[in-house]
Symmetry: C2
Subunit: 122 residues, 2 copies
DNA sequence: CAGATATTTTAGTTATAACTAAATTGCTGC
DNA sequence: GCAGCAATTTAGTTATAACTAAAATATCTG
């Protein structure tokens, strides 16, 4: 099997790189991942987890009310090696941190304006 | 020197990958690159060339009214090796082609609405 | 200088990614 | 069943990337 384009898209985003690093060697529950990331809502993390699953880069396992995620390293091919090299590189770590800090000033407000629909009451 | 984040962003985009491939081993004029790509305006190509230069992945050389671009392979580190492996992979090539075709149905219309300003006549 | 050619730049548009807050779903234990 | 926690989903927002068409810039040629 060759290289996955999904893997390239994944590693282009600091946020997704952060998730991948957390679940690279051992599975973690969604909430645990969220807590480890800070400054982003649970919902946002859940969305990224779904995207990563759908492109085959993560696998999920349900246990009780928790869901455990783990990287599918074999699906990433050479891109995986690249990631590992990155994480071992001290200089790189600084850069990644800086980029994440920038991203935190991204889409911010999204303040609610109208009333919320109730789906079940139609 | 370590890995450049810019390189990751570059290889995540099929369009920029295409440009990089064209100027990987030998320099090419902007127009030549544009003609080789098809289905995109010269302006769009020029913008991508600028972005790639600014992130240090290409170098430019002016000669008469032409501008020649060439990849700065040494700035890409391990990402460069990854790209080379991709281009040698037949399966990958099919995928890349498909993705470019999709991207061609991206931002399309941009039809003009108002009159254009004339900068020099103020 | 006028015209042709090569490229860049600008202004505006569309599509999309990433996000938030709130609602919803699913499981557990009382 | 209902309260409570974990996680997901939804609807709407903001920021941004990629693009087009037109205008501008620069260089060469007669």
């Amino acid at each position: 099997m060759g290289l996955e384009t999904a893997a390239l898209a994944a590693i282009a985003s600091p946020r997704r790189r952060e998730i991948l690093r957390l679940v690279w060697r051992e599975e973690r529950a969604a909430g645990e991942i969220h807590r480890a990331m800070g400054d982003v809502t649970f919902g946002a993390v859940s969305q990224q987890l779904r995207a990563l699953c759908e492109s085959g880069l993560l696998e999920a396992r349900a246990d009780g009310r928790q869901r455990f995620y783990k990287a599918r390293r074999e699906a990433m091919g050479p891109v995986g090696e690249l990631l590992e090299r990155m994480w071992d590189d001290a200089l790189w770590q600084l850069k990644q941190r800086a980029e994440l800090a920038e991203r935190r000033r991204g889409p911010r407000a999204a303040r609610p304006r109208g009333s919320r629909r109730k789906k079940g009451t139609a």
